[in-house]
Amino acid sequence: MNILVLLHSLLDPAGFTINRRAQKVFVNHENYILNPSDKNALEAALQLIPSPVASSSATGEGQGGGSTVTAVALGDSHAADALRQARSMGAHRAILIQDPTLKQADAFVVTNVLRGVAQHLGDIDLVLLGAEVLDADLAQVGPRLATALDWPFIADAHAIAPSRAPRERYRGKIASGKIAEHPNGGNHRGPGVAVIVKQPDGFHQLTADLPAVISVAVHSNKPRYPHGRAIVDIYRAPEAVEILAAADLRLTAADLTPLVTRRGESFPPERELGKRLEGGLDEVANQLANVIRMK
């Protein structure tokens, strides 16, 4: 299985505050982090393949028993750092898409770039990405990419496992968050994945044929720490991250033109304190019902 994982590096929310009066973000402490659910997506990818890269090989070639995890990110030095973190954790390859035309990239452009990367690599079976990006993200890239590639999309996965289950969905309730064996062995269409997603009424297990796009829920796994040796080797090797420009992916000008124009930022007012309901049980229940009915 060859997996592509999309990573984002962004400003740590713990380091800035939003001043609603001034309608501005004040950066108190500038610190860049790997988007948390992207890290979970990377961990999910590493758990799906038999052997992630051992620490010593700076290029990651020829390892993993035929399965590879490739990390990709758009941007500059911070994105490159996120990619090195991914290599240190065990990803075989890291690709930085670095291009001045991508500065204002929106979900449409990111999708086209990712489509280009998947086609450039040629043999991708699975694209994993974080369920949400902590900056101004609308979680569009996953479904857009799946549509562009004509692959199935599953959102907010809590667990992923290879599966050869039949096409139809197993609409059962899963007591724990763990993948269950499909009750009907049956004839199958080819390699697939079984995915646990959380619904309001509990966990559900879905299956999809590969290739597919799946977004991974934040905190759905515990990302591994890189070995100290891997950190040293990867950060000392300039070739650990491959750099491609938009031209290398054969993208058209239309592909790179955002659909969305950013005109500025505005922040909603502080949430007001709630209303206190008092009285006996029936009175409170009535008041609550009225609040819900918005009377």
Partner: protein, 388 residues
Amino acid sequence: MDLTFSPEHRAFRRLVREFCEEEVAPRAKKIDRTGQSDPELLRMMADLGFFGVPFSQEVGGLGLGETGYCIFFEEISRHCASTATTIGAHIGIGAMSLYLDGSPALQRKYMPDLCAGKKIAAFGLTEPNAGSDASGIQLRATLEGDSYFLDGQKMWITNGPIADLIFTLAITDPALGARGGATVLAVEKDWPGFKSGQPEKKMGLRGSPTSLLTFDEVRVPKENVVGQVGLGFVTFMKTLDIGRISIGAGSLGGSQAALDACVRWAKARAQFGRPIAHMQSIQFMLADMATEIEALRSLVYRTAWLVDNGQPFSREADMCKLFGSEVASRCIDRALQIHGALGYSRDFQIERGWRDARIAEIFEGTNEIQRIVIAEHLMQEVGVRIRP
């Protein structure tokens, strides 16, 4: 003069910081309360290569040098001084003597296991009658055939109760005394005649096991001599020299943690209608702490740079230990004052920091000894040899 850390050092610091915040910090209180090191935590650290940070990759370490080791020690010391001391004694003085002066054969025998954390090291110098006066040691190693027989005691040995490999200094030629007739020997804990005593009950560093070691005619093969016979004192002094820098790094971490706690507290705690951050008395204390910490940071990492670049560092190393231990004591004491009653409560970690910091002025060569040695360096430059 390029004062930036290399990319791998920055990335390594981030790894250690995240690991400490997730894994070490939640366990620190229990480690102190129970007086037990946490074996699961130590195993996790060993699995990430943390037991061999400064040692070359050829012998199984990470190859991050003294700079990497100071980074590592600083970050751990922010959260748990006991855990830092356990690993510090293992890397900084235990395995270090083997790394500095051990023969290639002896290094091949033990360094890979030490770097992988499969064996824990201890450094055995101090005795009941030999502390600051290290030349007063009495542990005796008598050569018979192709083995030495060790007889005597060591005291206050960090990792004594848990060490698999003890690097110890013994007198091999009584006529020449400690300075010319002592030898470093690597002793395995399972050899007959070796015993470690009960862990000492201490004010602080309670999770760092320390004990008496007894050697009752322990047979040590000749190949386990570290360095040269008769020159063990030199090996051990070299080892202590380099170990002092990491004490400075540990003090730096503890001081920084104290300052960070004070800054957060000054924001959160309001009295007389406003956060205490707005009071000059608090501001002055914070500014003094921050300035001393910045000075210590420069001193520690510059000294680590001297080591990694093959330059003399002995005088600066003593300064790291001397200045670091006193900065840490001052910072944690101010932190206790700023936190007030909360600082005094055992439910918060300020009092643990206060108890843990104090020993740094005593062990690894008391600050009095550091002052004497620094003065010796100074006077030597004008041709005066101070008699001890």
